[in-house]
């Protein structure tokens, strides 16, 4: 089962220590361009996967980080929503390459923030039931799994990053943007 495989995955599989990278902020152009598809078995991609996890770990409140956000225009991101109170289903820490949404349903609106847009939050409607497909870095296995609630939101936010979209591109309306007070 892909779901169990993803849940069992840890960054230890990558076999390289992660480095903490600088997170770039809008209006950096790399955040608004679709990333390149990657070879998930390539050594530089495996290193970047480790770096993304390491950078997420040291960033307070961070539940996901895309390669664009560390200035690398490739389609890869990490997610870890285990500690978030809005989480129901989760798959621990994982990294996906070339991910895409397979199915989505049950839209719900909630307020989001982003490390690359530190001064604003915004109300965004996203699916609360989601099936995604992508590849694990290192082995390159293709995985497909379903999730819900906050992990579904985090995945859509990160997949948007890989496609060159910020949550600002999804906000519900002119009064759905707020000056930042606390992180997501």
């Amino acid at each position: 089962m892909s779901s169990e495989r993803v849940a069992a995955w840890t960054e230890a599989e990558l076999g390289v220590p992660g480095r903490v990278l600088e997170v770039v902020r809008a209006p950096e152009g790399v955040l608004s361009a679709r990333g390149a598809d990657v070879d998930p078995t390539a050594a530089d991609i495996v290193q970047l996967a480790a770096d993304l996890v390491a950078t997420m770990r040291v960033s307070p409140g961070c539940v996901g980080l895309a390669a664009n956000q560390v200035g690398v225009g490739v389609r890869m991101f990490c997610v870890d929503v285990v500690e978030h109170p809005k989480t129901r289903t989760h798959h621990g820490t994982f990294v996906l390459c070339n991910a895409e949404v397979v199915e989505s349903s049950r839209n719900e609106k909630a307020r989001e923030g982003c490390m690359s847009v530190p001064d604003f939050t915004g109300d965004v409607k996203r699916a609360s039931r989601l099936t995604v497909r992508g590849q694990l870095p290192g082995t390159g296995e293709t995985v497909s799994f379903a999730t819900d609630a906050f992990e579904a939101r985090a995945l859509q936010h990160e997949i948007d990053h890989t496609d060159g979209f910020l949550f600002l591109d999804r906000v519900a309306g002119a009064h759905a943007i707020y000056p930042r007070q606390t992180y997501l």
Binding site: P27, S32, D119, L166, L168, D169, G173, A174, P179
Partner: protein, 174 residues
Amino acid sequence: MSTDLYAVTVLGHDRPGIIAATTAGLAELGLNIEDSTMTLLRGHFAMMLLCRGAADGAAIERALAPLAADGDLDVAVRPVADEPAPAAGGTSWVLTVHGGDRSGIVSAVIAEVAAVGGNITDLTTRLSGDLYLLVAELALPVGADVDAVATAIRTAAERVGVTATLRPAEADEL
């Protein structure tokens, strides 16, 4: 008895109690507040409200005069006509534009909406550091070629070095 409609605008230095003082003055005159909006624009208090009642404009100005006594708030009162309800039809959209700040972003992008007879119905712009952000709600007329409008907006945005996203304004009917 007159039931004239008045627009009251209050602009200036923000401090606690502006809305309380404004609405108290209007309430004493028996005015009913209808639509209103208030926000802070780079820290400046900005409020516009429409109120209706039997008071005349001069009486409203006298009632609100203490608000402007310190010289850091501008208060204006003027009569306005009732507007007809918007015609049905057309489609509603949300536009996001963001990118590096420079002059001319809003005009370049919004011109493409106006060019097809589209109407901006709500607009927020924010500048934070180098990031300029515009979110607008707009109505496009029946028959508008939405794909062409979206392309024109994106092209205009690219010319001024920003990105634009146009998407349907969703409303869940329950």
